[in-house]
């Protein structure tokens, strides 16, 4: 177990998280601390509880038991819409954009959410800054040629990139990504991984990934879940050397 008192080094701490759905325990007493400024990957075989854990730490639903602490402040049960203002943003496992808005409108909305929540008066196009910021973010995720295309008409990989841009709109210090390469072609996956590495240079990234191989090379820190419990954690090398992990994960054949 990581040292729980080393607060200044950890941006997010999950303490004794238990999640039950009816009679089913999806997470059992999981405690994890996420080091600041690093790329942490949560891995584990199917049904390990990765998505549930992701949903709990990203505030989609509160845990049955346990606490979530962000920068020393407890955020368990904080409504989802407050997370962006804390500086925590997330992307969904299933592509989740605004299909009938253009790429630019998608991102501009996300930026607008930071400052103009209930402004019913000023015309939107007065806020040139928002539009410029949106264009900048689209460039960052390499969608600068698609400003005026409807999100629904973008390719799958482009939609996922757009979602990352949406998440970046609040300039998060913590970025949570749920299987960002799900359903992507090998080429798209490479582009996405490049993007994630770039993003991780400037902020803390926590990433859920099913494919272990994919994250081994890029993450600084790994967390392995199995049957809803914390199986191992450490650097990629430590995890690779862990017998337990080899048994339950690698033993099933390479993913």
């Amino acid at each position: 177990m990581t040292d729980m008192t080393a607060d200044e080094n950890h941006i997010l701490r999950a303490e004794k998280i238990t999640m039950r759905f009816g009679g089913f325990t999806a997470l059992n007493n999981v405690s994890v601390a996420f080091p600041e400024g690093q790329l942490t990957a949560i891995i584990g075989p199917n049904g390990a509880g990765k998505s549930t854990f992701f949903n709990v730490i990203s505030g989609a639903f509160p845990p049955s038991e346990g606490r979530i602490v962000f920068r020393g402040r407890e955020i368990t049960g904080t409504p989802q819409h407050r997370f962006t203002r804390l500086g925590i943003a997330k992307s969904f496992q299933i592509t989740n954009v605004f299909p009938q808005l253009t790429a630019l409108e998608n991102v501009r909305f996300a930026i607008q959410c930071m400052s103009q929540r209930f402004n019913i008066w000023t015309p939107r196009n007065r806020y040139r800054v928002m539009e410029e910021q949106a264009a900048h973010l689209l460039e960052m995720v390499e969608l600068h040629q698609h400003h005026h295309r409807l999100a629904m008409n973008l390719a799958h990989g482009e939609q996922r990139a757009l979602e990352i841009a949406l998440a970046l709109a609040c300039d998060p210090s913590l970025l949570l990504l749920d299987e960002p390469t799900a359903g992507m072609s090998p080429e798209e996956t490479i582009v996405m991984m490049d993007l994630i590495i770039r993003l991780a240079g400037e902020r803390t990234v926590i990433l859920v990934e099913h494919k272990m191989k994919l994250v081994m090379g890029i993450s600084n820190h790994l967390i392995v879940l199995h049957h809803g419990e914390l199986l191992a954690e450490g650097t990629p090398d430590e995890v690779r050397a862990n017998d337990e992990v080899r048994r339950v994960y690698l033993g099933q054949g390479e993913h």
Binding site: Q80, Q100, E105, Q112, F118, I120, R124, C170
Partner: protein, 330 residues
């Protein structure tokens, strides 16, 4: 819900018709008001023309929640009716001047929307339509019971505003054309305000909620509060429509609170094209003209109301204006 998005649909089309439509979309307030300004001369039957103005405004307000935010309410009769009754009551019982009386009507409807909205927002999806319908019907029974104020079953009579009492102007609502332009002034103001709200950042929130509620929440939108605010704004517009209707009819029929009146708003939005700016007025015009013509021939107009509903949902879900936009931008 699939909706017509004029900006997008027009993209890449160099056709002249598309150009005209794009121009109309850019100057949507002027386009609506220009048409309504000359409308009484196109339809030389002013009482019907006034109805179209009022119900167009009602459908416009309703469309904020239904068309733009994508939430179906069956309770908007409450706001139309509350606007009517509040205006009527302060005029009949307290002899208030028509101008503050209209404001009172809109505010009363807004308060009603605040209460009904706060309760209904606690539910999601399909419940919303049921809960709003039930709560608006509760308002119906309450007003029905307050016979001393509301006139009960017979409705509120004697909302007689004839002389406008504007200094230097001798205007009387007994003149149908004067009445049309009297109502027009309020509708024009409302249409301009409405367009402004749609263009605001909050307008983007509405679209985002329609498109993807979960994503909007993750972006930092307080979904419940935003929905509630939209509901209240929508209620204000529908209340204004109701206030004007009280002055127009000089009575407030109890039916204005019945959920069938909510059905009218749904119907007109659907006919015209939900989520389009011109749709509500196109819908109100089509519906009321059809009603006028068909009731001359048969007493079974309701049969046509039902048939129109079914036909548009099955075959023309984008409505007249929405389908036209699509056709114009082929």
């Amino acid at each position: 819900m699939t909706l017509a998005n004029p900006q997008e649909e027009l993209k890449g089309s160099g056709r002249r018709l598309a150009g005209v439509v794009a121009l109309m979309a850019r100057h949507r307030v002027l386009a609506v008001l220009g048409f309504l300004l000359v409308f009484p001369f196109l339809l030389p039957y002013e009482a019907l023309a006034v109805n179209i103005l009022i119900y167009g405004l009602f459908a416009l307000g309703f469309n904020l929640v239904f068309g733009y935010m994508g939430v179906l309410s069956f309770g908007h009769a409450a706001f139309f009716g509350l606007g009517s009754y509040a205006t009527g009551i302060v005029i009949v019982h307290y002899g208030m001047h028509w101008f503050p009386a209209i404001l009172v009507g809109a505010v009363a409807a807004g308060l009603g929307a605040a209460v009904i909205g706060a309760l209904a927002i606690r539910t999601r999806g399909i419940y919303f339509a049921m809960v709003t319908l039930a709560l608006s019907q509760c308002v119906y029974y309450l007003v029905y019971q307050l016979e001393d104020l509301s006139g009960g079953e017979n409705g509120l009579r004697g909302v007689d505003v004839y002389d406008l009492g504007l200094p230097g102007l001798e205007l009387t609502l007994l003149d149908p054309l004067t009445k049309y332009y009297f109502v027009f002034v309020f509708v024009a103001l409302a249409v301009w305000l409405f367009s402004r709200i749609l263009a605001s950042p909050f307008g983007a929130v509405l679209e985002a909620l329609r498109e993807n509620e979960d994503r909007a929440r993750a972006c930092g939108t307080n979904v419940a509060l935003s929905k509630w605010l939209a509901f209240v704004i929508s209620g204000l517009f529908c209340g204004l429509a109701g206030s004007l209707n009280a002055i127009h009819l000089t009575i407030v029929p109890i039916e204005s609170l019945h959920y069938h009146t909510s059905g009218l708003a749904v119907m007109m939005s659907l006919l015209g094209g939900m989520g389009t700016f011109f749709g509500p007025f196109v819908g109100a015009l089509t519906f009321l003209v059809l009603e006028d013509v068909i009731t001359l021939v048969t007493v079974h107009w309701q049969l046509f109301v039902g048939a129109l509903f079914v036909f548009f949902i099955l075959f023309l879900p984008r409505g007249i204006w929405g389908s036209f936009l699509r056709w114009a931008s082929r």
